[in-house]
């Protein structure tokens, strides 16, 4: 029923016996107490709010068991800023007012952070396609696309 897992989250090791059925999203929020990873749709895997990076790749943490992440490196929204300084992508979101209620923002940032590493010079269409897995009900996406485009430009 339980399994001891050792998951490194933002450089910190969390080792604990948890139920096999525990989702990675719940491990992050309830065991590691990192509540920046949000749960939107909770089960369909469609909203993308719970997106984190596992070994550097964006994945939906509600579509993984914590046990699957045993031995892996997870980065959450709390791991994006370094030494209290926002990452360039986070700064661009701030500058472009790319969030309103902010619920979807952690997932979008964790997805777009990896997206820009894979595609450092994206077109607007590529940014839009990259955002397919993240729902935002406030912004209409226009400012998010502006922010991602600008973050890519600043990195060049």
């Amino acid at each position: 029923m339980n399994k001891t897992v050792k998951i490194t989250i933002n450089g910190e090791v969390f080792e604990q016996s948890v139920p096999v059925r525990m989702l990675l999203s719940d491990f992050i929020r309830e065991v590691a107490s990192l509540t920046g990873t949000h749960i939107g749709c909770t089960y369909e895997g469609v909203c993308g709010a719970c997106t984190v990076q596992v070994d550097g790749e964006a994945v939906k943490s509600c579509l993984m068991l914590a046990s699957q992440a045993d031995g892996h490196n997870v980065t959450t929204i709390e791991g994006l800023a370094k030494d209290g300084k926002l990452s360039p992508l986070q700064q661009a979101f701030n500058d472009h007012h790319a969030l309103q209620c902010g619920f979807c923002t952690p997932g979008i940032l964790m997805n777009m952070d990896e997206f820009l590493k894979v595609n450092p010079n994206p077109t607007d269409d590529e940014i839009r396609t990259g955002l397919v897995g993240n729902l935002c009900r406030c912004t209409g996406y226009a400012h998010i696309i502006d922010a991602v485009r600008d973050a890519a430009k600043r990195a060049r």
Partner: protein
């Protein structure tokens, strides 16, 4: 939502270990977990309640794409993100890359696998129809060590059903060495960008020396009865040239007429037939273009 209680989690390092882990349970009580992008949803909605989850992530023999004189072999645990950019699949087997590039979203493509999708065989999925279209084969191995290879037509059954038995692991999908003038293409239509296919069409063609179609496969996904081939359309394409727009349209029309389509929340039957006609014509043209090396 979260899964029902799961008693055990195993992470085998080899196919043999995975099969042995499954053999400790009664049929169906232990489930193999590939990328989990379908199975996790099914577990959370309690459609399935496995006693044991056997996570295949550490089985290296199930991963990667290799090519030899015999053709191309895609490990069952190869992810969409890898298939979408795989150069070995361009041209003859381009339909697989087309399908993989638009499954779900980039987070799903970072984890979802070809083998997981084939074994789950969801009604609205791209991989089963694309594999039926290109005519791939499935390599299976069972706990007793028995190996068998099934062509897609035998492996893929109705929705959520395949010829795989509970004690078998899908090892790889294999594609025969294609003749020089072969091409395939896949495209789906869904309600929003990269959504589950309401209809998806995969077409594979081979061209003879004169540029006429000498072999064709036409497969459709999104049907209530599971992925199906339109054999009348395939026959209608033989001897026709890709430049013959009327012949292409007639073949797509034939596919639309011969396949049974359902009406549901996403589209009615007549609209599905329209989609088969429209996507079918487009995919015959694109597959032929790729076959001609254009």
């Amino acid at each position: 939502m979260y899964p029902a209680v799961i008693e055990d989690y195993q992470r085998p390092a080899s196919i043999d270990e995975a099969l042995k882990a499954a053999a400790r349970y009664d049929a169906g009580e232990a489930l193999f977990l590939a990328g989990g992008q379908s199975l996790m949803q099914a577990m959370k909605s309690r459609l399935v309640r496995p006693r044991c989850v056997i996570d295949l992530q550490a089985v290296k023999d199930l991963k990667g794409v290799s090519a030899s004189g015999a053709g191309v072999r895609i490990g069952a645990m190869t992810r969409y993100v890898e298939i979408a950019k795989e150069a070995k699949l361009k041209g003859a087997y381009g339909a697989l890359g087309d399908a993989a590039a638009h499954v779900g979203d980039r987070q799903v493509r970072n984890r979802g696998t070809i083998g997981g999708s084939l074994c789950w065989n969801y009604l609205a999925a791209c991989m089963p129809a694309a594999n039926l279209g290109v005519g791939s084969s499935m390599e299976l191995i069972s706990a007793s060590g028995k190996k068998r290879t099934l062509v897609a037509d035998e492996f893929i059954k109705g929705p959520l059903d395949t010829a795989r038995t509970d004690d078998e692991v899908l090892v790889a999908t294999t594609l025969p060495a294609a003749p020089s003038k072969a091409g395939s293409a896949y495209k789906k239509w869904g309600l929003v960008t990269d959504a589950l296919p309401v209809i998806g069409v995969a077409v594979y063609v081979e061209l003879d020396g004169g540029g006429a179609i000498s072999k064709a496969r036409f497969a459709v996904g999104g049907l209530a009865t599971g992925p199906k081939r339109a054999k009348g359309a395939e026959a209608a394409l033989i001897g026709k040239k890709a430049s013959d727009a009327a012949a292409i349209a007639a073949a797509a029309e034939k596919a639309s007429a011969e396949l049974e389509t359902q009406s549901d929340l996403w589209a009615d039957s007549a609209y599905r037939k329209n989609l088969i006609r429209s996507l079918g014509g487009e995919m015959i043209a694109l597959a032929s273009k790729r076959a001609a090396g254009q």
